[in-house]
């Protein structure tokens, strides 16, 4: 199995093949999907895509971290992080597909 990396271009190519819009418009739609998901997350909303997974925001409190190189203590500011929880379908397909 040779590993490769897909990009926006591959996603818009898939949209182009599936629906028969222009390549340009397919690319814009891919971008628009990513933008809407990002905007919802930035506004603090979770995004739940059935049979794909859920993106949610977690608040992290301030804590004291350490510079691993110097051992120096540095405060880590409170921040919001994004977590992704894959659906059962995604987990199943990814596990089965990679065991082949």
């Amino acid at each position: 199995m040779s590993e490769s990396t897909l990009t926006r271009m591959d996603l818009s190519e898939a949209v182009f093949r599936e629906v028969g819009l222009s390549r340009n418009e397919s690319a814009e739609l891919v971008e628009s999907v990513l933008d809407h998901i990002s905007d919802a997350l930035v506004s603090g909303e979770s995004v739940k895509i059935s049979s794909f997974g859920t993106f949610s925001i977690r608040d992290k409190n301030e804590r004291v971290g350490r510079n691993p190189k110097t051992g120096e203590e540095v405060p880590i500011a409170p921040r919001r992080v994004l977590t992704f929880r894959p659906s059962h379908l995604m987990k199943e397909r990814v596990d089965v597909g990679n065991k082949k």
Binding site: L6, I37, S38, A40, G53, R93, G97, N98
Partner: protein, 93 residues
């Protein structure tokens, strides 16, 4: 936001497309990402994030209720890493 709301937003912005085509477009995008990972590939969406597959080795686990040892087979799990731009936007930068 759930998938149908995402579809609705895209449909509202593209009045020349049928709603069912927007559903297919959105479905195709998510399906393509899963398919890529099922084939052992990465999906890198700059600014948004990257989906990849991690291998978990087989291990001896324990049934937390009975304390009994159980063999857990190796498995492949989906993983998402948030892109820098989105991570910064989440923190108002």
């Amino acid at each position: 936001m759930i998938k149908s709301e995402l579809v609705q937003k895209i449909a509202d912005e593209n009045p020349h497309l049928y709603q069912r085509d927007v559903e297919r477009i959105v479905g195709t995008i998510f399906d393509e990402i899963i398919e890529a990972m099922a084939n052992g590939n990465r999906v890198e969406l700059r600014g948004f994030g990257a989906f990849s597959v991690k291998k978990r080795d087989s291990r001896t686990g324990r049934n937390p209720r009975t304390g009994e040892s159980v063999h857990v087979e190796e498995k492949y799990v989906p993983f998402f890493k948030t892109g820098k731009l989105l991570r910064d936007r989440l923190n108002g930068e």
